[in-house]
Amino acid sequence: MHVNVRLFARLRELAEAESLTVEVPTPATAATVWRALCVTVPALTPFERAVSCAINTNFSRMSQPVADGDDVAFLPPVSGG
């Protein structure tokens, strides 16, 4: 199945893309998507411990299942305010 990945800030810069489509086997979790993404963009790998995740605009754990067509966003540490 395919999921739509959104990236922000430094992750976006490292991937040189704010969104991309990632193919993962079924069943898959957000962690599966992240690992597939890191194969495509190895520079993201060091962020694994500091990344947060949102599925379809809801904060989610990396262990949360994803479905075909889901939007999966990966968020580096934040610095708003």
């Binding site: 959104r6 922000f8 800030a9 430094r10 976006r12 810069e13 500091a50 990344v51 947060s52 949102a54 605009t57 809801n58 904060f59 966003a73 968020l75 580096p76 540490p77 934040v78 610095s79 708003g80 305010g81």
Partner: protein, 160 residues
């Protein structure tokens, strides 16, 4: 009362909106505390040229609504407005404006302080600093909106 915007921020505009929302509720609104985060000319000794803020807009609005709900839970009757700016900001411009309205002043300061602490913990917004001699993404908190310890810390800071 919640916004992610590329336009310059106005305390007056947000305050009017927040005040109107709470005017006829309970004891009404006698106190408005606000907070503005402003771009400084220097950061850790480096001369700043400008900043860029980036947000996950749709999620940021949900987070702001969550912070509103948390505040209403802790301070019944309080009203809270939050607007975060994105895009390029010059020195002296505001990146975030928060307005908290309550009947009495002590609570208005608490709600406002709580909101800025929570924004820094969980709002999906990123700051990119451009210096005279380089640039840097600022990376603060790893977002975990279910982290009750973080929420408790924000409450403690707000109420100390």
């Amino acid at each position: 009362m919640l916004a992610v915007t590329r336009a310059p921020l106005s305390v007056d505009a947000l305050a009017a909106e927040v005040e109107a929302s709470v005017r006829t509720r309970g004891e009404g609104c006698g106190a408005l505390a606000s907070f503005l985060g402003v771009v400084r000319a220097t950061h850790q000794g480096r001369a700043v040229r400008y900043l860029e803020y980036e947000a996950f807009d749709a999620l940021a609005l949900k987070v702001f609504a969550q912070i509103q709900a948390e505040a209403a839970d802790r301070w019944p009757g309080a009203a809270l407005g939050i607007a975060h700016r994105v895009g390029r900001l010059s020195i002296g411009e505001a990146s975030v404006v928060i307005v908290a309205a309550t009947a009495h002043r002590a609570e208005s300061f608490q709600v406002c302080r709580y909101a800025i602490e929570r924004i820094k913990q969980i709002a999906p917004v990123w700051k990119h600093e451009f210096f005279e001699d380089g640039e840097a993404w600022v990376e603060g908190a790893v977002v975990n909106p279910d982290d009750e310890a973080a929420r408790a810390r924000a409450l403690e800071i707000a109420c100390m």
